[in-house]
Amino acid sequence: MNSNSLVSIDDISRDEILDLIERARFFEEHPDQKILDGKVVATLFFEPSTRTRLSFETAVNRLGGRVIGFSDASTTSSSKGETLKDTIKMVSNYVDLIIMRHYLEGAARYATEVTDVPVINAGDGANQHPSQTMLDLYSISKTQGKLNDLTITMVGDLKYGRTVHSLLMALRYFNPTFHFVACDELKMPKEYKDFCDANGLKYYEHTEFSQDVINASDILYMTRVQRERFTDIMEYEKVKNLYNLHASMLADAKPNLRVLHPLPRVNEIAQDVDDDPKAYYFEQARNGLYARQAIICKALGIDIYKEAKV
């Protein structure tokens, strides 16, 4: 077990979050740093995720490290029945850091228990995806100039969306006001509302994606409503267009409002929003690169302020 591993956003403190944001900012200003020279990083993607893998691999490459790995478990021994433990132990012999995505929940936590190499969780089923949360926090901090006292509206699939759950939990340190906008079938689960209550976080639930809610928001965090989440297809047909955002809906929004989305989006954000200065989802994805550079250096115990050349 390596204590520099990052499995869940809950594992890191408020100060560590703020420190990672500072380091992400540093990498945004100085993205190309050869501080991983001689290091080998494994990207083990037992479940395909092109976006996340490319972002992590770009981060390693920009830091001068080398990458080995696979992007699909069907080409590995796990398809022959090898246990996760054996795969991790084998790869640990070769590399300085493991970045892994797995379709099973808890896989990354278990991986940390069978190796001394640091592990970064790049998503384990519906459970955790801490680098996504870090890039969301970095994007919020960068666009708002702060993380404290913001009004954050989460829209769409609040039941299964792991990004909104992790973001909600990470924001507990920063006195947010939440608006949860979702249909009954996809509303925020009770355990997260209990979490808000236990941490004294204000939240309001809405089934209507109203102008009032948009106009009150600093951040509009959109998510995709997926057809396969519905037990009743009629219900999906009824709600599928209720939580879509169009440029006209942003006309009276606060000037500092930014629209975030973990991507991929389908039609929950209309194409006409892309040209609005409030659209931020593509920059958000780029911020993922800097956030991941910061996370990788932290996992390897590298003091970037000492090692980097600026």
Binding site: L104, E105, Y110
Partner: protein
């Protein structure tokens, strides 16, 4: 010696352990958790006995065994008010309540089919997150379950 016919006709233990105050619907889970099914010792099991405290209760008597504390505490998961009586020479020499540990390793299976613990040859691990209604959370996937609903392996 006169025997009151309303009393249970169960021989007193010379030596062993009596586990009392098990909720009646948890008795067989307790038997399973303690591995009593596989013991060669004399075992007496009673269930649906009247109890002032629980309404109906279960009781287990196992001859010639004193369970280690960490073993016996495993049943706190499903019988938080169970009482353990240690018997030597027909006398109760020790009477104590089970204590719920902070962490439960093995015993419980995670109810989430997509949890790594249901897909790898490994032991489960749960943290007790609420002692009042005995809710436990999977160390790996984070799913919580009330212990009464937990799947015992």
């Amino acid at each position: 010696m006169t025997t009151d016919k309303k009393e249970l006709a169960v021989a007193a233990l010379r030596r062993g352990t009596v586990i009392d105050h098990i909720p009646n619907d948890m008795l067989f889970k307790a038997v399973k958790i303690l591995g009593i099914e596989r013991m060669p010792n004399s075992v007496t099991i009673g269930n649906n006995l009247s109890s002032r405290r629980l309404g109906l209760k279960g009781i287990i008597k196992v001859a010639d065994v004193e369970f280690p504390e960490d073993v016996i505490n495993r049943i706190a998961l499903i019988a938080p008010h169970a009482k353990i009586n240690t018997i030597r020479d027909f006398e109760v020499v020790d009477k104590r309540q089970v204590k719920l540990p902070d962490e439960i390793v093995g015993i419980v299976r995670c109810g989430n089919p997509k949890c790594i613990t249901n897909n790898e040859p490994m032991r489960t691990r749960f943290h007790v997150v609420d002692r009042d209604d005995v809710t436990i959370r999977c160390h790996y996937c984070g799913q919580t379950v009330k212990s009464g609903d937990a799947i015992i392996d």
